[in-house]
Assembly symmetry: C3
Homo-oligomer: 273 residues x 3
């Protein structure tokens, strides 16, 4: 049950090392804290080996990457991998620039990740080397819909097989898959896309879910995705007239903070394909 995965985060309170962009880093930290886990951030090559060694998971997010942080990503990834830690990759903007596509691809080549979480455009860019991403948001032409669902489920499973890890492709419909099984998740609200960083937050909390649920990577990722989407629904139900995307941002993190296993199990909307 997904609720179990959530309870394990609360119980084990894993420490997550994040190398992540400076746009949404504060929300990533508070979202991780809201799950009951703890975040630590470090992107200096001389600092990351020590920091990642005391953690249980490494979350690499390539938004606002730079030469120094890319170096730190590789050093930290190798160290975390050698220690058997959870590794999560968020390929922000893959497809939007050669540097981003290449950095994400190089990391995937170098170490075995536990989970890759991105939007449809980013994952397609990584899969096909294409460059059609509209910045850090998914191109509408790439979006998962009821019409192309079968095709997209197959794509995500194939990506997972090729990458040798769980893949979460998030958007209006979220697909979380390994090579055999795909969770098709219909939680969340479209208004979440008008907040910066809900994807980054999801990657951060996913790392906590993975660390707290060893040997159960697929279900842990599905639980993280449902938690984020359900938090978006709960938060939206609390919106008052005059509230907008900034208040919505706060209420989503609040809803993660107040989440529990029962609420998650009752509110998770998914089918397995």
């Amino acid at each position: 049950m997904l609720g179990n995965c959530f309870t394990n985060v609360r119980k084990s309170s894993p420490l997550v090392h994040n190398i992540t962009n400076y746009v949404t880093v504060n929300d990533v930290a508070n979202a991780i804290l809201a799950t009951g886990a703890s975040p630590i951030m470090s992107d200096e090559p001389k600092d990351v080996e020590d920091i990642t060694s005391i953690c249980g998971a490494l979350n690499i997010n390539i938004g606002t990457l730079n030469e120094r942080s890319i170096k730190a990503m590789h050093i930290a990834a190798k160290k975390a991998s050698s220690l058997g830690h959870v590794l999560v990759l968020d390929p922000v903007g893959a497809g939007a620039s050669a540097l981003r596509t290449d950095t994400a691809a190089a990391l995937l080549d170098e170490v075995p990740f536990t989970l890759v979480r991105g939007n449809a455009s980013e994952l397609k860019a990584l899969s096909m080397g294409s460059h059609t991403t509209k910045g850090v948001d998914a191109d509408e032409a790439d979006a998962v819909s009821e019409e192309n669902l079968d095709k997209m489920v197959s794509f995500v499973k194939e990506f997972a097989k090729a990458a040798g890890c769980v893949v979460a492709m998030t958007g209006a419909i979220d697909l979380v898959a390994d090579e055999r099984t795909c969770y098709v998740i219909r939680n969340g609200r479209k208004e979440m896309s008008r907040i910066t960083g809900t994807g980054c937050q999801l990657s951060g909390i996913s790392a906590a879910f993975e660390a707290a649920n060893p040997g159960n990577a697929l279900e842990a990722a599905a639980a993280a995705v449902c938690t984020m989407g359900l938090a978006g629904e709960i938060a939206f139900s609390r919106m008052q007239p005059g509230d907008g995307n900034s208040t919505y941002r706060n209420r989503i993190i609040d809803a993660i903070y107040n989440m529990d296993a029962k609420t998650l199990d009752e509110g998770a909307k998914y089918e397995i394909r």
Copy 2:
């Protein structure tokens, strides 16, 4: 009409590349999303040409600049200029350090900007090479008042003429001018100065307004300034006992999110000189 400029942002949803400081970057992103546009951040020299190419506007904010980001500013500015994109400069702290004054001046020399937005002290420093700025806030001695209004309108028009672009000098009274025409805007509240980054947010959304209103740079800038000020007024009217600058920050972005052309046209308080 200013409301029209706002509607154009909502309709065209421009993508804005921001090279901006890490203090207020999250609020800049959420403010841009609140207008209906989309932000992307990148400050790595090897990344910015690709990123700026897929955007319609480049917003350069020199707060927390460093050697790497300065290099990225120049590369991105040249690329954006060669593509005919909108360019906005926010000279945060010009006058407070030689590096900031020189960086802003060098960028202004190098490429034609669409809009420069700063406070009175920053613009005076750029104009005169003086170093009297009180950090990132305007020096009181520099502020626009009813007493010195004529003189300041002339100063802003002259600055606009010399820089060959629209200039927005914001403070208690906002002046938005090209070499011939000046909007004197009396929206906003003094409490906005107790929030970090309302100026940075304004520069970010101004880039979206400019991108969505080609050939109409002056009115677009005035619309952005009125939107921010009016959002500050609407947000303040929603404040409850015990609320302070952090909640006020959220409510201002919320108010941009809920803005529409009619509200803006009815609430904009300006005269043209």
Copy 3:
């Protein structure tokens, strides 16, 4: 009286130069603004001498340090020291990595600080060269409790004597001491530890309190610690069902914004040992 120290911040509105981590920097800026002081951030070696020269205090926080920012910390510290400015050190994650422990130790060796503020694990690491910190949070084994209070008061006084400055060790019980006198402070709530950056905010506002209260470093630090803890209590009393750590974060800064001398004097809970 502590309330007096607070009033002095409101009256003198000091400008605080912060070299601080990008995780919590926005909250640090808004917390400083909430006290009535003003923040400026700069971490470029070529920028920091000019910036720190126009300020009254320098707050160095080593979270997300990198080679460039470390260089900037040393340059800024020497300049601020030569000008007789207040210097505050927040050794975030000291003990968690060699780079962080060494950087904090080197800064302490190099210039006389006014105040060092950290959690028990960080201060123990600095004192003993140990590496037992659980990331950026205090290890439970290190926490101040009623049982080990006498021992911890002695430890903090000895640290203060060795460092030649005021030391604030914050946690469930806060200890603020010079070599002779220790404030034992029981303000605050445990839920504050589920927000990222309350410690960073405290270091930032402490720099403002120190700058506004020259020659009164111990009382100024105690006033800052009580202000933060009391703001945490006031903010918690305003929490509604469904609110969580993100809203709590906003309400704490709001409570600092609405603080006054009388509220602080009535709400401060401390004894002197």
